[in-house]
Amino acid sequence: MRMREVSRRAAESQAILSTETKEWHHRHVLDLDDFSRGEIEAVLDTARAMKEVLGREIKRVPTLRGKTVVTAFYEPSTRTRVSFELAAKNLSADVASISAQASSVEKGESLLDTVRTFQALGADILVLRHWQSGAPYFVAQHVEASIISAGDGSHAHPTQALLDLFTIRERMGSIEGLRVAIIGDIAYSRVARSNVWGLMAMGAQVVLCGPSTLLPSDIEKAYPDVIVETSSEAALEGADVVMALRLQRERQEAGLLPSLREYIRLYQLNSERLARARPGALVLHPGPMNEGLEISPEVAHGPQSAIEEQVTNGVAVRMALLYLLARGGHAED
């Protein structure tokens, strides 16, 4: 019976296997530093199919019926959370959510206890955002469910980086060989960090740019293949893609910036600066934007901006990840 089942399945999937099956071996998505190019491509290709679903009148497919996705956010976020919840619902999964403010977290329950409770309630995939770097790794070691990091501290934000890669590939055709300038608060940016891994795996040239107080001190050692610039003009020269990062106003309060006005003068992505990049260079921003601070409104909403498209692509990429992680149980052998 087992043999029959296996051979039938083999026959039915023969068409799928014989074409370029892209590898996918992840049980969790915690960062992109352990993703091969093939694995990233598997996500992006799957996301393209998901985007087709998003273009339909009825944006729902039955793929994850009976699976439960729990989102646990220990840090405020509306966009990422809604994006994940829509992604799960579009695939017909059941969705439950906890936020730090409205649960026993307030009563002092530990992260692990909360997560175990949700596992006991039947969560197959747990989407975790935490203010502490490394929290998703810790949780992944202790639970059976698959963990997707929705951002941890200043460490990683893999799904944001994947949606950026998806947007770049969709708009520019391919990522290989592109010069991608990331400008802003690099030191505290989990978006920048995950993007560096993803972009390098895909063969792009990454330029990281910001005031020296907002660049990690060990940056050249950590990313030997990355170009580091403190001048935004130099970073933008010949760039195919420009990503402006959100500037947290706390940075100025912490004394890392002399003034916001100076930051605007030296680093704001405005039309004048953008003109140094390649004609038609793509403009990205992980959101939410401080318009008039790290990016000017005319660039944010201009013809080169894909910032709104990034939001739609975020849902498609998260659907792809949920799909790829929700394979049937674990191997019995």
């Binding site: 087992r2 043999m3 029959r4 051979s7 039938r8 399945r9 083999a10 026959a11 039915e12 999937s13 023969q14 068409a15 799928i16 014989s18 074409t19 370029e20 099956t21 892209k22 996918w24 598997a42 290709d45 799957t46 393209r48 199919a49 998901m50 087709e52 679903v53 339909r56 009825i58 729902r60 497919v61 039955p62 793929t63 009976g66 695939l91 799909y323 790829l324 929700a326 394979r327 049937g328 149980g329 191997a331």
Partner: protein, 184 residues
């Protein structure tokens, strides 16, 4: 591992020509037809049928592609999720006659998934099914209107359709199951 040729290039061509004529006959022409090829090998077969219909009726029949990955019923039982390809139906299918095209009809589960996928895209007037090979062993109440060749098979053997566009050759073969020591 033995391989037996079941259909040659000529057999495949004749089968498709006959299917094209049957499609025209059954639908009294090509009006309101949309051909939808199921990934992978249903796609080139649908394109070939469209070309044949153009020869026969001088009419352009739209061709779409369909990936059923998101509608499969075996996802919970697989260790690896199948790779999802693009679904692209260029015409509005509401009120149309959709002809699903696939290479092999076997358990019928793929066709069930394809019908669900089509229904999510709109309400066609009718769905018909064209396959190059019907090898039997249905597990669902599904049958094809257009069959290139009925090939009685054993459940263990593997039927491979190889098409020029995908495989670089034009053949239908049967591959005997690998004999394993100590098979249960």
């Amino acid at each position: 591992m033995g391989e037996k040729v079941l259909l040659t290039e000529v057999d495949i061509r004749r089968a498709l020509v006959r299917i094209a004529h049957e499609i025209v006959e059954r639908n009294k022409g090509c009006q309101d037809l949309v051909l939808v090829g199921m990934h992978t090998r249903g796609v080139p077969l649908a394109r070939r049928l469209a070309a044949l219909l153009k020869d026969i009726e001088k009419a352009e029949v739209p061709v779409g592609t369909l990936d059923i990955g998101l509608y499969r019923d075996d996802l919970p039982y697989r260790e690896e999720p199948p790779h999802i390809r693009s679904t692209d139906i260029p015409a509005d299918i509401v009120g149309k006659v959709v002809v699903l095209v696939d290479d092999v009809l076997f358990t019928g589960r793929s066709i069930r998934a394809a019908m669900d996928a089509i229904m999510d895209l709109g309400r066609p007037r009718r769905i018909q099914l064209a396959v190059l090979v019907d090898r039997g062993h249905r597990e669902l109440p599904i049958r094809a209107e257009y069959v290139g060749r009925n090939l009685p098979t054993s459940q263990q053997e593997e039927i491979q359709v190889r098409l020029q566009e995908v495989d670089g050759q034009e053949l239908v073969v049967s591959v005997a199951p690998e004999r394993e020591e100590n098979m249960p």
